[in-house]
């Protein structure tokens, strides 16, 4: 056996490292939490890393998981060792091919980071809902519960699959295992070679489709043979458990790590036994060890091989002493008599009992659900389950981990129970996404994992926002392998990297008695105590904490580290936690810095070294006084005029106390109130824009581009200005639309701003005396917090301008319309949300939105708060997210239903027009509602109609009343990213375009799968580096606009707000007015492009000027009016593509990796820019000529 090599990696990497080595073709598609396995494989491949067969695996990104499974099927059928990685809905899309692959007895392994399925809501977190949905496909299922096991089972499953010819689904818990960083022993190449039998690989290849040995597979079968055909495979499945067992033994022989189909841990005379699989089993293992040592007769059986479920192996593991068994499923099977694992075991044991072959008295069996969507599953809960097993009449079909006060399924547990060992150091860190806390902790784990004999575990929790998100790092270090698959609740080290958190969350609840508490505070060691809220002071005294403080931001600033405090806080941790000897720790940090940054330049290394030295000088221990003397209170989590729901539910979610909510408090059908972001004042910006009315030219550009709708303008008649706050400014409104007594004001929601500065960059007005100042300038947020909030409240109460008096197609005037999408959790400087907000301003009161899964569904609908809101009349966008792949179809469904309602209403109206009044009925029926004033008139008429109807008592009148709102125009929108529109949803999108129906499609085109971390899509520009295109994309992006134009009756626009905002607004208005399918493809800058997003709008302009993002509008309505439908709205390539591309990291990186390829990419992009312009101009010229001809003829 060769020397043991330990590495500190996460579960995804542990699997990818094996899967890559033992496969030849890998078909991939991004889906959380499995994406990193695919990304790593692509990176290995682009780095030229070889597999054990001495070749570089081919990695192919597909358009969907359905596509990936199809390619896997094809590659398997033609004899390649093939794999894929997926989760959740992705796995569901693979089901059809899984049946085929299994039916054809084809060896392969699908590696699944198991995740919840979207039901009443989507969840990216872990449970077994997905894998349990494919248990009937014929795939064998092998479950791993630790990072080490995921690594090992990736190999064992492949070996067993090759031998058994049965495809495997190897799964491990999403996030809990896929993203947990752990120290594991690496499998070497020799072991892989020893496990993968070359003869079996050859046998697989010999079964391949080839014209050299032709045969037919995949026939269409009839009643005569299909049934028998299904039964032919039984013997293969019968043989499977034994094969897996043998492969596990072989693996144990090679590595010393032993696994069994069912692993039994606990007392040999156990009476109460829990059975489960996945990471939860490890926590039960740990809990069993703890209580067995105290004399309890309990045990756990970890299910490894779930399909084929070998009852005989299972029964062998059960001791004679068994009296009761609890079977825990991490899934919910509604309507069944129990969850899957429970049913398997109950049925099996009952059958044996019936036959009289059960070697012990039939135990009492209960089943329960736990851990859905990564819900915590702790030793305290496990104790409750064991306790339940002791009861005379234990609860069956229970839940554990929630409080079910509706159907009373839940078991109660004592949350104070902890079994954490003294030998394990437990540390919890609170940081901001942007401050480098998680990165530093990952680094710390590696330092300790790789540099000492300790075992390590790191798990990271992120909140729901993409801007200003709070991160919590849970780190464990100890001398034995760590099985604690749950968050730390009793930490002996707690660090708060942002002092404001202390005013928002109960951070110290994580600290155990006598724990060390490290605080990054701007205050001196003398002052820091007095600046703490009273509750924090009290807890510190009660728990006798050791208190350390550092002003990390000032150290970072002094050492040129900017706002990155990672190295500073990491040094503090090592200096005071005692996990390593201080000198050694410092040396290790320095080594790691050299390793990370050495190649990138000496300067960064020097800065980090300086930061370390400075840290030690500025880290202070603070003596805790005996009494609390603070009057500071914790900040309320919600502010404003909110309802009970927000007070009882939303506020709890924001406070991080959502786990305590009871079943009765949660909406039962996934319906949540909209417009709740306004109550969560996040105060995350360090600087916010401030308006200078003297310089402002009232162009409203800042209002347009603000991604979070925090800058707004109003024109208000001066009569409304009463009791004006001192710092509230307004000036005479400019422009012909406005009267002399109308005033213009701009206000900033300073508490909601993310500080992106996009508005300042886009402001065209310069201060004539100080040209570095504009009409809006970034200033410190803190001093403005109170006055800013008061001004905002005042502003919001001022009336909105009469919509009917504004020209909505004019950019400036469109920005006086109230946005019905505000304060979302999108990234600071997001390029998508300004378009989303614009649509809400223009059509919000009549919009129904189908939103494809992706960034826009996350910032649009990720709890705790929702950005879509109502206007003062109670009207606003109705929003829903179905799936990623079906959004166009989903939205088309909206249209069909609404049209049906409208038609029914019209029929009824016509039928009863005399009763209602012919004039009213006819005016309603004849109204075209082409523009907003007409729609408003129609609303008034419908109100009159409703009044009339309410006086009529008959059945049809009631029907018409319930449908009458559909007599007012509804605007159907489908929104989503390029991943949806170009790739996974293109089939449906294309079908919707072909339908001729009046729908509006908004493609928020960032040219990557932004939400899952920037994977390549068919919109990705040539020469851009993206995940899955690690070497830069060589192909051209798809011209989806041109494809849509080919239908001739589709309104098509390509827009880029930063290049031409007037054209953008026009396109939105025209698209919505067009009575047929419309598609707007909107260039959206994105954090995945790699530059400071405050320049986002400038980059949009560069993209257009380079010719890589053409601007045009194709309006079929104009053709009907005898006008040219095609309007090319840009001047073609007027700058070289390089002047756009090399401003962004995504393109520039290629040059730094492969200069030759970079030159080719530039050349390809250059000719693409030229060709696109020619194509669009030709089209414009063609239609121009046609119209002239038509004109001449008429």
């Amino acid at each position: 056996m060769s020397k043991k090599v330990f590495v500190t990696i996460d579960g995804n990497e542990a699997v990818a490292r094996v899967a890559y080595k033992i496969n030849e073709v890998i078909a991939i598609y991004p889906i959380t939490p499995s994406s990193p396995m695919a990304e790593l494989s692509d990176t290995y491949s682009s780095n030229g890393e070889k597999n054990i067969f001495d070749s570089i695996p081919d990695i192919m990104e597909m358009q969907s998981e359905g596509g990936a499974s199809g390619s896997v099927h094809g590659a398997l059928q033609t004899g390649a060792l093939t794999t894929t990685f997926t989760a959740s809905q992705g796995l569901l899309l693979m089901i059809p091919n899984m049946y085929k692959i299994a039916g054809e007895l084809t060896p392969t392994v699908f590696h699944v980071a198991s995740r919840s399925l979207a039901a009443q809501g989507l969840s990216i977190f872990g449970d077994h809902s997905d894998v349990m949905s494919v248990r009937q496909t014929g795939f064998a299922m092998l479950a791993s519960g630790l990072v080490q096991e995921a690594h090992d089972f990736a190999l064992i499953s492949q070996a067993a699959s090759l031998r058994s010819r049965i495809p495997f689904l190897h799964f491990f818990d999403g996030f809990r295992t896929s993203h947990e960083v752990s120290k594991i022993e690496l499998i070497d190449t020799d072991t892989m070679k020893a496990m993968i039998d070359e003869d079996l690989v050859a046998a697989h290849r010999a079964r391949a489709l080839t014209p050299d040995n032709p045969f037919i597979r995949g026939t269409s079968q009839n009643p005569d043979v299909y049934f028998q055909g299904r039964e032919t495979v039984n013997s293969y499945y019968d043989a499977l458990p034994h094969i897996v067992e043998e492969e596990m033994q072989k693996f144990a022989h090679l590595t010393g790590r032993h696994y069994q189909l069912f692993d039994y841990i606990g007392a040999s005379d156990a009476e109460r036994i829990i059975v489960l699989m996945g990471s939860g089993a490890e926590t039960v293992h740990e809990t069993v060890d703890y209580y067995v040592a105290k004399g309890e007769k309990i045990a756990v059986i970890k299910v490894r091989l779930y399909r084929t479920f070998s009852l005989s192996h299972f029964i062998k593991r059960l001791p004679q002493s068994v009296k009761s068994i609890a079977i825990l499923d991490r899934t919910k099977e509604i309507g069944a008599s129990g969850e899957p694992l429970y049913l398997d075991i109950v049925t099996g044991l009952s059958e044996e009992n019936e036959k009289g072959t059960l070697p012990f008295k039939m135990p009492r069996i209960i089943g329960g659900r736990y851990g859905l969507s990564s819900k915590e599953f702790t030793p305290a809960m496990i104790k409750a389950v064991f306790d339940e097993l002791s009861k005379e009449k234990p609860k069956n079909h229970f839940t554990i981990g929630i409080h079910d006060d509706v159907t009373h399924t839940s078991l109660e547990w004592d949350a104070t129970i902890t079994i954490e060992k003294d030998t394990v150091l437990r540390a919890v860190f609170f940081g901001l996404g942007s401050d480098g806390t998680v990165g530093a902790n990952k680094n710390t784990i590696k330092i300790i994992g790789n540099g000492t004999d300790n075992y390590v575990q790191g798990y990271f929790v992120y909140d729901s926002n993409k801007s200003g998100s709070v991160t919590t790092s849970h780190l464990r270090f100890g001398p034995e392998p760590i099985r604690s698959s749950y968050l730390i609740s009793h930490a002996n080290f707690v660090a708060c990297h942002q002092s404001v958190f202390l005013e928002k969350f109960d951070i110290l609840k994580y600290a155990s008695h006598g724990a060390t508490f490290l605080l990054n505070s701007p205050f001196s060691k003398e002052m820091v105590w007095s600046k703490l809220p009273a509750k924090v002071q009290q807890t510190m005294i009660e728990k006798s904490l050791q208190f350390y403080t550092i002003d990390a931001y000032s150290v970072a600033k002094k050492t040129q580290m900017g706002r990155r405090i990672n190295t500073v806080m990491q040094t503090c941790f090592f200096a005071i936690s005692g996990v390593l000897e201080r000198e050694l720790a410092i040396e290790k940090i320095k080594e790691s810095i050299e390793k990370t940054y050495g190649k990138k330049g000496k300067k960064i290394v020097e800065m980090n070294y300086a930061a370390i030295e400075n840290t030690l000088e500025n880290l202070h221990k603070v003596e805790i006084p005996k009494k609390s003397d603070s009057t500071l209170e914790l900040q309320p989590s919600v502010k404003g005029d909110f309802d009970d729901f927000v007070a009882q539910i939303t506020a709890k979610l924001i406070e991080g106390e959502g786990d305590a909510l009871k079943v009765s408090q949660i909406p039962d059908d996934g319906t949540w109130p909209s417009g709740t972001t306004q109550y969560q004042k996040r105060n995350i910006a360090i600087e916010v824009p401030q308006w200078d009315p003297d310089v402002c030219i009232q162009c409203n550009k800042c209002v347009l581009v603000c991604p979070h709708a925090v800058i707004r303008s109003k024109v208000v008649n001066e009569e409304h200005f009463q009791n004006i706050p001192d710092t509230f400014h307004f000036v005479q409104a400019k422009g012909k639309t406005f009267e002399a007594d109308e005033k213009f004001t701009i206000q900033v929601a300073v508490e909601d701003c993310t500080g992106c500065a996009l508005c300042v960059e886009v402001c065209p007005a310069k201060n004539k005396s100080q040209t570095n100042l504009k009409a809006i300038n970034m200033v410190a947020q803190e001093p403005l917090r109170e006055t800013g909030a008061a001004n905002w409240d005042y502003f919001m109460k001022l009336p909105n301008y009469d919509r009917n008096k504004l020209d909505h197609a004019k950019m400036k005037e469109s920005q006086f319309l109230e946005p019905l999408f505000e304060f979302s959790g999108a990234c600071p400087g997001c390029g998508e949300t300004p378009y989303v907000k614009l649509a809400s301003q223009l059509f919000g009161d009549r919009m129904v939105i189908a939103n494809a899964t992706g960034c826009s569904s996350i910032y649009g609908g990720n709890l705790p708060t929702t950005p879509w809101k109502k206007n003062d009349h109670g009207l606003g966008p109705a929003w829903s997210n179905s799936l990623f792949e079906d959004n166009a179809e989903f939205g088309l469904g909206f249209r069909l239903a609404i049209d049906k309602h409208t038609q029914n209403a019209r029929n009824l109206l016509e039928m009863f027009q005399e009763e209602i009044g012919i004039e009213l009925a006819q005016t309603i029926l004849q109204s075209q509602q082409e523009d907003e004033p007409e729609i408003f008139e129609q609303r008034k008429r419908v109100a009159a109609l409703k009044e009339k109807l309410s006086t009529l008592g008959h059945h049809e009148a009631k029907r018409l009343l319930s449908l009458s709102n559909y007599l007012v125009k509804k605007s159907v929108w489908m929104m989503g990213g390029d991943g949806w529109a170009y790739d996974i949803g293109y089939g449906g999108l294309d079908h919707t375009l072909a339908s001729g129906k009046n729908v509006n499609i908004l493609v928020l085109d960032t040219q990557v799968y932004s939400n899952t971390g920037g994977q390549e899509s068919k919109a990705t520009f040539t020469g851009a580096v993206a995940k899955f295109a690690a070497g830069g994309k060589a192909q051209l992006p798809k011209d989806i606009a041109m494809m849509a134009i080919a239908y001739e009756n589709v309104y098509v626009a390509r827009v880029a707000m930063g290049a031409n905002d007037a054209q953008t607004v026009k396109a939105f208005v025209e698209a919505e007015r067009y009575d047929g399918p419309s598609i707007i493809i909107a260039y959206s800058h994105c954090v995945a492009h790699g530059y400071d997003l405050k320049y986002g709008m400038d980059h949009q302009k560069l993209a257009v000027d380079s010719g890589l993002w053409p601007l045009f509008r194709y309006n079929p309505k104009l053709a009907l009016e005898g006008k040219n439908p095609m309007s090319v709205d840009y001047k073609g390539p007027i700058i070289d593509v390089k002047n756009f591309m090399y401003q962004e990291t995504r393109f520039k990186m290629v040059e730094k990796m492969n200069a030759g390829a970079a030159i080719e990419f530039l050349q390809t992009a250059r000719s693409n820019a030229k060709n696109m312009y020619a194509r669009y101009k030709n089209l414009e010229a063609y239609y121009g000529k046609e119209i002239q001809k038509d004109g001449a003829q008429s």
Binding site: S46, H179, G433, K602, T1145
Partner: protein
């Protein structure tokens, strides 16, 4: 006709060096410059900011937005970046050294103490025959006195000289209170060559955008004046060799430079305007002129009209400025 000369200890076949410019940023044009007769190449400058900025930029943008959201732990693949600008520059030197037969001088632009000084060592390792240090420091701090500024220059030069064995020259600027004294101090520290002078990027104001901006203007022959003056003054006073780098456009300019006491000249603007082959033209005319005037070598004319050897030393002195104006007026 002997055109050869010696500059900072390097033997040059003629006095015309291709100065740092976009033309010395590409292998192809460097080859063309050599073919046209350039006696040495000053590679395009690599800036301290460039070396530092690039690493900061990569670090910043590759990790920006990472570790903030559960679905997107990062936004870029794990990339192996082998062609950082600073690496590329070194590779360029190494590959050029293989194909060039004339000396190759790297140009390093920086001022602070720090990691970039080590980069000088890497330039030497890569095969540079010499190093031209270009320090342009604009002291905007009203509390920073002249001595402090001078010390920055001297310290940077010292640090580079301590790091390498190849000859180091320094590109001076003309706005020191006492250029001659500075030149002496540079020379004493061990600068093998003094390049007169650096031409800072021009500043302009954009009235449309209401912003200040940098512009690049080509020099003309008229710009050679200050370099001639200080070369003439410094000739034979220092151990360092002298090189004129501003306003050298014609064969006459080369002759004037030599006669004032320069050992070599650098051409940049003239080549950008007229192309690489222009060196051939200048060399031909130079030879022609020397033949006509019966000069046998460059060496023969060096310093022949320096401060000490001119019949009119007053021409180089400030007092004459007034007379020049007077003559101009009448």
């Amino acid at each position: 006709m002997k055109l050869d000369t010696s500059y900072m200890g390097l033997a040059l076949k003629n006095p015309i060096i291709a100065g740092a410019s976009p033309l010395t940023a590409s292998v192809d044009s460097i080859k063309r410059l050599e073919d046209a007769g350039a006696a040495a190449i000053i590679l395009h400058s690599i800036f301290e900011e460039q070396i530092n900025h690039e690493s900061h930029e990569i670090d910043h943008f590759l990790f920006k937005g990472s570790e903030s959201y559960a679905e997107a732990i990062g936004y870029f693949p794990d990339m192996t970046l082998t062609n950082l600008e600073s690496h590329t520059y070194l590779e360029e030197i190494a590959s050029l050294k293989k194909s060039l037969s004339i000396p190759l001088i790297a140009s390093l632009n920086g001022v602070s103490k720090g990691g970039w000084i080590e980069y000088a060592g890497k330039l030497q390792e890569a095969g540079a025959d010499g190093l031209e240090l270009n320090i342009t420091y604009i002291p905007t701090d009203t509390d920073m006195d002249g001595m402090t500024v001078e010390k920055l220059y001297l310290d940077a030069l010292q640090a580079v000289i301590d790091t390498v064995n190849i000859p180091v020259s320094i590109k001076m600027n003309a706005i020191f209170s006492s250029p001659a004294s500075m030149a002496k101090q540079f020379s004493t520290l061990g600068a093998k060559g003094l390049v007169l002078f650096d031409r800072p990027v021009h500043v302009d104001i954009d009235l449309e955008e209401l912003t200040a901006r940098q512009t690049i203007h080509y020099s003309t022959s008229a710009d050679i004046s200050e370099s001639l003056r200080w070369t003439a003054i410094l000739y034979k006073k220092l151990a360092s060799s002298l090189c004129i780098s501003t306003g050298v456009h014609t064969n006459e300019d080369v002759l004037k430079a030599m006669m004032s006491g320069a050992d070599a000249v650098q051409m940049a603007s003239a080549l950008l305007k007229n192309g690489e082959s222009y060196i051939t033209t200048v060399l031909e005319k130079l030879t022609q002129w020397m033949e006509e005037k019966e000069y046998i070598s460059i060496e023969q004319m060096k310093g022949s009209i320096s401060l000490h050897h001119t019949v009119n030393p007053a021409a180089y002195q400030r007092a004459n400025y007034m007379r020049l104006l007077t003559e101009y007026r009448y």
